[in-house]
């Protein structure tokens, strides 16, 4: 953690001085987690790309926006992406509905490998955003509860309860009420 912060601090110092190589390192190190978060949140590659671009362009225009003493740059950029996504939602009033006619893809007792990952992705994208965030961060990105709590700006207990509720919703939407969470 300390090493990562030290590296972030050094890279940011060089980036603020206009070093293109430092910015390239920052981008290539953190673009994937920002893009994945945006893609999981939107369920759309194109929108995820736009959000990723928005995040790094924001960083270019606000080089002093991040304080290395307050956390890791990766988590901070995901937080920026979250704010961009929220703005998008409020502007577009976009909501991704789960197709009501979508049949359950796996009935109780069928093989686990029958899960359609694409449908699970759509189901995740259809979750309310407060649940979707924690599923993406904890279940897909593998971040700790503490880290996720810092990104979504809430208590660790809230992350736990939201994650539990989100998994119940996913299970119900995908395979019915009988699915073990």
């Amino acid at each position: 953690m300390e090493i990562q912060r030290h590296q972030d601090r050094d890279l940011l110092r060089r980036f603020r001085a206009g070093d293109r190589d430092a910015f390239t390192t920052i981008y290539r190190t953190h673009q994937a987690c920002v893009y994945r978060f945006a893609r999981a949140m939107t369920g759309d590659r194109m929108k995820a790309g736009e959000v990723t671009q928005d995040v790094f362009v924001w960083l270019i225009h606000h080089p002093d926006g991040f304080d290395p003493d307050r956390g890791e740059l990766g988590g901070f950029l995901v937080g920026v992406a979250r704010k961009f996504l929220k703005r998008r939602y409020s502007e577009e009033q976009r909501w991704v509905p789960l197709d009501a006619d979508m049949p359950s893809i796996a009935a109780p007792g069928t093989n686990e490998s029958d899960y359609d990952t694409e449908r699970l992705r759509q189901a995740v994208a259809a979750l309310p955003s407060r649940y979707r965030e924690v599923v993406v961060l904890c279940s897909l990105e593998g971040k700790s509860y503490e880290h996720a709590a810092a990104i979504v700006e809430c208590a660790v207990g809230t992350v736990r309860s939201r994650l539990h509720r989100a998994r119940a919703l996913l299970a119900r939407k995908l395979i019915g009420k009988g699915c073990p969470v």
């Binding site: 893009y35 899960y115 995908l174």
Partner: protein, 158 residues
Amino acid sequence: MSRLDDAMNRLAAEHEQDNAPFAIEQAVFAEFDRVKGRKRSRIWFAAAGAIAASVVGLWMAGAWMKQHRPVKQPATPPAAEAQVDAEAEQPFVPIPYVLPPAPYERVEVVRMMVPVAELIAAGFQMQTSDQGAEAEADVMVGQDGRPRAVRLISVSSF
């Protein structure tokens, strides 16, 4: 492990392979170059502006100093200075039969060429053979316009 966990793990594994398209990287770097280039040109513009302002300021200061510089008087040669001192040391000689100026009276000193004959007529002892000659003198004139005293300047010529 539940089915949901298994599906989630597979989705996470697939999710891990995702990367932003190369076009995004190009667009971001283009923006970086544009912003940094603009900052660089801003710095150059600022530096050029500062230099231009300094040049204009120096030029204006030079012009102002040229206008307001005190006029340098031509240096007085030592001989002339000595002459001026000698003139100042020469006393005014009262013109005979004329009342001297009162202590409160304001007088003027006028330098003029005075005919030597007039000086002789006024009672001055002048040794010259040329009766039409003139002598340079400071004449003290009273408030009434009458001469009260004379100080000869070109004494040496007589």
